[in-house]
């Protein structure tokens, strides 16, 4: 089985969000970039398929040279090869188009992406990719088993979960649950050394237009100070009469 894990390169979860260029661009100053958490769960599940079922695992990012440290980290975690499509990720559609070309050329059976990137929260790349490839698609996936080309997956739904049966070729939008938090791997020295000599191929983009563009960013208005009360009667009174939420 050939697996491709799509890696989105995102600000870590503690980042301060600021904008530059007249509020039209994200300010990357002082921001630490990481593998999108949803993708890290997927990558770790892919490592399981590699170790238990002899799968090969490639990782891909659509982005500029600044994303290479993130791809190297994925190699250090254990992916065999990395691909960077050398073009800025302008919108979800354009990214999906680039990924579709990579998948077609590489003949992957299983593509694992994340439920959403924690930066733009698009939640669209894996679904669009699946549709472009005419592949099956499972989103918010929290468990994935593959036997031959038969797939059993569990998907989180609002208020529960459902078990799905489908087949390869498949695109997955994954999240926590694909593996547990405690299964995530911190790259060790050996992994980091090995990653240096693993292939990281830079591929030129295919033609792809964007369908959306950011006009401007804005931050929420600062909120007023908290009202502290010292008894539950006051709280109920405020929630009922002032906030009108109970």
């Amino acid at each position: 089985m050939k697996i491709l894990v799509c890696i989105s390169h995102v600000p870590d979860t503690t980042s301060k969000i600021n904008f530059t260029d007249g509020d039209t661009a994200f300010d990357t100053n002082g921001v630490n970039f990481v593998i999108n958490p949803n993708d890290e769960f997927g990558l770790t599940r892919a490592m399981w398929f590699k170790e238990k079922q002899g799968a090969s695992v490639h990782v891909v990012n659509v982005g500029g040279p600044e994303t290479e440290p993130t791809l190297r980290k994925a190699l250090a975690i254990g992916a065999d090869e990395a691909i960077r499509v050398n073009t800025p990720a302008t919108d979800g559609y354009a990214v999906a188009k680039q990924l579709a070309a990579v998948v077609k050329d590489g003949g992957y059976d299983l593509v694992i992406g994340g439920r959403e990137s924690i930066d733009y929260n698009g939640g669209m790349v894996p679904g669009m990719l699946a549709k472009m490839l005419d592949a099956n698609f499972v989103n918010t996936c929290i468990s994935l088993e593959v036997a031959d080309s038969n797939v059993t997956a569990i998907r989180e739904i609002d208020g529960g979960k459902e078990t799905i049966s489908t087949s390869l070729p498949l695109v997955v939008g994954g999240q926590k649950g694909l593996v547990e938090e405690s299964d995530l791997r911190i790259p060790n020295m050996r992994g980091i050394m090995q990653a240096r000599s693993k292939p990281l191929t830079v591929r030129e983009p295919v033609d792809a237009n964007s369908e959306t563009k950011t006009v401007s960013f804005e931050k929420p208005a600062p909120k007023g100070a908290v009202k502290l009360v010292d008894n539950v009667d006051d709280l109920i009174n405020l929630l009922h009469n002032e906030a009108k939420v109970i």
Binding site: I17, F19, D91, G92, Y93, I118, D119, N121, G122, G123, M124, P126, G127, M128, K131, M132, N136, F137, N139, T140, I142, T152, E156, I157, D158, G159, G160, K161, E162, T163, I164, S165, T166, G173, K176, G177, E181, E211, T212, K213, V215, S216, F217, E218, K219, P220, K223, G224, V226, L228, V229, D230, N231, V232, I236, L239, H240, A243, V245, I246
Partner: protein, 331 residues
């Protein structure tokens, strides 16, 4: 030659969710929203309902026409088939704007609908479009830490409306019901639901108006009784912080935050949760936040509207008693 296209209304198409044959509240919200866009555009609202409820209910919020699909094969949600239904309806109506909600199912199908219609898609939309031509909408990004005003440049647009972002607006429409039979192929059913595991007697985080959430301050899973009791009194959903679900005290589906579920309720009550940035990211779009924490320095107080500094094990049982009395009086 086909003149059919000349007579198309270019209506705004909206997919309305239902469960067990009744519309969900979000169905009325998306119709309200679609009506606001249709008014701007000088056109009408067509709703698509799959094995759904009473069409006239959608009329109350502004639907002019309801395409009713009734098909046993669609009893279980199936993203590919549902996306196909919506795309076919959009084409039949010549719709330029398609509106969906932000449930797990709607987010699953939206990108498929968008590619099918060669439409640009913007999720997590928080307001009516700023302008129709060019089409610009505001939506939340960076897990609610910011908003982006985004322009969609394609002819057809797909909009995912954030939950509780627009509210319900009554706005009478004719709601003429029409049967709609999409053509579905076997390929639409390559992905099959084998079983569904869902507590039917519990309010889900996605649907809840009120969410009662607790963190590591509760010390152990055995102490969740009082949290569930509060949720029951308030008709609320229960939720938790990430470490609580990582330790297996609560199910994964309850974990809220940047890497968990987003919460857009009208009231969020956080008990024994410190208010880490990753937790706050998931609840920023909740309207009113209440914090109960014994540490006055807990960062959550800075993000809260109301707070009590105190021991959850004392406060929560008192609050439950008083809430019960309050509910008994006010219902």
């Amino acid at each position: 030659m086909n003149f059919g296209n000349l007579y198309k209304t270019m209506s705004v198409l909206v997919y309305t969710e239902s469960e067990n044959g009744s519309f969900k509240k979000t169905a009325f919200e998306v119709v309200s929203y679609a009506k606001a866009i249709a008014n701007e555009m000088g056109t009408t609202v067509t709703a698509v309902s799959v094995n759904g409820g009473d069409a006239s209910q959608l009329g109350t919020y502004g639907a002019d026409k309801v395409l009713e699909v009734s098909n046993d094969k669609l009893n279980n949600f199936n993203a590919e088939a549902y996306a196909d239904v919506v795309a076919q309806a959009a084409k039949a109506e010549g719709a330029k704007v398609v509106v969906l909600t932000s449930s797990a199912d709607a987010k699953f199908m939206a990108p498929l609908v968008a590619v099918n219609l060669e439409a640009g898609y913007v999720p997590n939309v928080v307001a009516a479009p700023e302008s129709i031509s060019p089409f610009k909408v505001k939506h939340s990004v960076f897990t609610n830490k910011a908003f982006s005003l985004t322009e969609i440049s394609t002819d057809v647009k797909v909009v995912g409306l954030g939950k509780n972002a627009f509210g319900l607006k009554e706005n009478a429409g004719a709601a003429a019901a029409e049967a709609f039979s999409p053509s579905l192929s076997d390929d639409d059913f390559n992905t099959k639901v084998v079983s569904v595991d869902k507590a039917t007697d519990k309010v889900t985080i996605a649907d809840a108006e009120i969410v009662v959430s607790a963190g590591r301050g509760l010390k152990g899973p055995e102490n969740w009784g009082m949290i569930e009791e509060m949720a029951e009194i308030l008709g609320a959903a229960t939720a938790c912080s990430k470490p609580v679900s990582d330790m297996g005290w609560r199910p994964h589906g309850e974990h809220v935050g940047q890497t968990g579920k987003p919460v857009a309720s009208t009231l969020y009550i956080a008990i024994g949760i410190s208010g880490a940035i990753q937790h706050l990211a998931g609840i920023n779009s909740s309207k009113v936040k209440v914090v109960i924490n014994n540490d006055p320095e807990a960062p959550f107080f800075k993000a809260a509207d109301y707070g009590i500094v105190g021991d959850a094990f004392e406060i929560v049982p008192q609050l439950n008693e008083k809430l019960k009395a309050f509910k008994a009086q006010n219902n």
